[in-house]
């Protein structure tokens, strides 16, 4: 079994790699590789797409690697391999991003990526730090994670899915902010599981064991 963490030069994959390697060892889930090679993606059992920075930059960076997105799309959509998007990697599953103009997403989860509204009463944007999860659905990837468990967020935009059933978890920050989205064999976390200590490691282990 192989899990590939897709590298398209979007920031730091060091912690992501180490956390997945550790949990793969603990769950007996085979090996974890970091790669930008479409062949590696096509051969992988599970695909993780991280992403930090601006939506358009991430998408352009991903599309700039020849054959990479097509390999991801084929494995995830045609062949239904388990997929986890993290932060902007999760946002890109939506229909459209609105950071610095409109940029199309993958369209896997219908919805828009919109800016969190800074409100009164101490609502700061970026939404930065630990927030308490509210679970909207049960899901194998959220198993053992309790309402009120904390995850680490650092972002100004979030996915607003068109369909309520795609919203798996939220947090409160001037209103509900999307924390986890998903359908079928794909999930995405707005927070950083690789930075969320025990809660994050549990989610990673759940993903590595998940058989959708």
């Amino acid at each position: 079994m192989t899990t590939v963490i897709v590298d398209y030069q979007s920031g730091n994959l060091h912690s992501a790699e180490k956390s997945f390697v550790r949990m793969a060892a603990e769950t007996g889930s085979g090996r974890v590789i970091v790669s930008s090679d479409p062949e590696a993606v096509l051969a992988a059992d599970r695909i993780v797409l991280p992403g930090v920075g601006a939506f358009a930059d991430c998408r352009n960076g991903l599309m700039a690697v020849p054959g990479l997105f097509e390999a991801i799309r084929r494995r995830v959509i045609d062949e239904e391999a388990p997929f986890l998007g993290i932060c902007v990697g999760s946002q890109m599953m939506a229909s459209v991003g609105t950071e610095d103009g409109e940029t199309p997403g993958f369209g896997w989860i219908p919805g828009r990526v919109v800016r969190i509204k800074p409100g009164s009463g101490g609502i700061k944007v970026p939404h930065m730090g630990w927030n308490a999860l509210e679970l909207r659905a049960t899901h194998p990837v959220l198993e053992g994670i309790e309402p009120g468990d904390h995850a680490y967020f650092v972002h100004s935009y979030h996915v607003v899915p068109e369909h309520e059933e795609h919203l798996l978890a939220t947090v409160q920050h001037g209103g509900p902010v999307t924390a986890v989205i998903g359908r079928d064999n794909i999930v995405g976390t707005q927070f950083h599981p690789e930075k969320s200590q025990a809660t994050g490691l549990r989610l990673i282990a759940n993903f590595l064991r998940w058989r959708p």
Binding site: G11, V52, K124, V125, M128, G129, Y152, H173, K195
Partner: protein
């Protein structure tokens, strides 16, 4: 802090010189207090919400030592790490992020060349760009930015500068009172509040923590989104856990 479940962060800061932890009292009299990677692991286990490394060597020759430190810390600690000191260009930010830092902090460079903040934010996202502001009180309700370890006045107003940095794309302000740093007399609450209320991005209070009540005041009176301290944690005056428990008693939302 209504209408959010976001917690106030408690951030131990490790001042690092040549790969070892130090903590300056008013930026002189450095005392060696151990290995940063070991300390990072201990703070991770103790429930710290983030870690901050401040490289006070900041010389080009020793940059490799810092990057190695960041790399080894990121391998061990699955928690957010901010690195500051010697960050001058967008390329410096990239190097740190690639090594495993989650955020990079500009200090002097942002004063000398504010455009670098916008450049770095547009390349890597506002969420990973911190601007560290070292401010000294110069009159009632007025604070001025000092650079080069607090030795050089700039005549730049701290509040106006913070607003400008926000506009340019900074994701967070790390605000240190040069009057209080190393004194253990508590944060400069008026300064903290003036900046925190002026910007829509999070402000980390820094400089002067001696007691847990200082952390509480930094949030309640200073309106800080996060509280940073160094020596009180390193020398065990109180632990991260004790700090958070008392903050919770005082009605501050923390992650326990």
């Amino acid at each position: 802090m209504s209408d959010t479940n976001l917690k106030v962060r408690v951030i131990p800061c490790l001042d690092v010189k040549d790969g070892r932890i130090v903590k300056g009292v008013n930026f002189v009299d450095l005392v060696d207090a151990g290995d940063p990677v070991e300390a990072a692991g201990a703070y991770d286990a103790a429930g710290a919400d983030e870690l901050c490394f401040l490289d006070i060597t900041a010389s080009t020759e020793n940059r490799g030592t810092l990057l190695d430190l960041v790399r080894r810390t990121a391998e061990r600690c699955f928690m957010p790490l901010t690195v500051g000191g010697g960050v001058r260009t967008a390329e410096d930010v990239r190097t740190l992020l690639r090594a495993g830092a989650d955020k990079a902090s500009f200090n002097t460079a942002a004063v000398a060349n504010p455009d670098v903040v916008g450049e770095a934010a547009s390349r890597f996202g506002a969420q990973c760009i911190v601007v560290a502001i070292d401010a000294k009180r110069v009159a009632d309700g007025r604070w001025e930015i000092f650079t080069h370890g607090g030795t050089r006045p700039t005549e730049i107003d701290a509040v106006a500068f913070a607003k400008d940095m926000e506009k340019r794309g900074a994701g967070e302000i790390l605000l240190t009172s040069m009057d209080r740093d190393g004194t253990r007399d508590g944060y400069d609450l008026a300064l903290t509040r003036a900046v925190a209320d002026a910007v829509g991005i999070p402000v980390i209070a820094s400089g002067g923590v001696g007691t847990i009540d200082h952390l509480v005041a930094g949030v309640k009176e200073g309106h800080a989104s996060a509280v940073l301290a160094a020596s009180v944690f390193h020398f065990g005056v109180f632990s991260v856990g004790e700090a958070k428990a008392r903050m919770a008693e005082a009605g501050i939302p923390v992650r326990l």
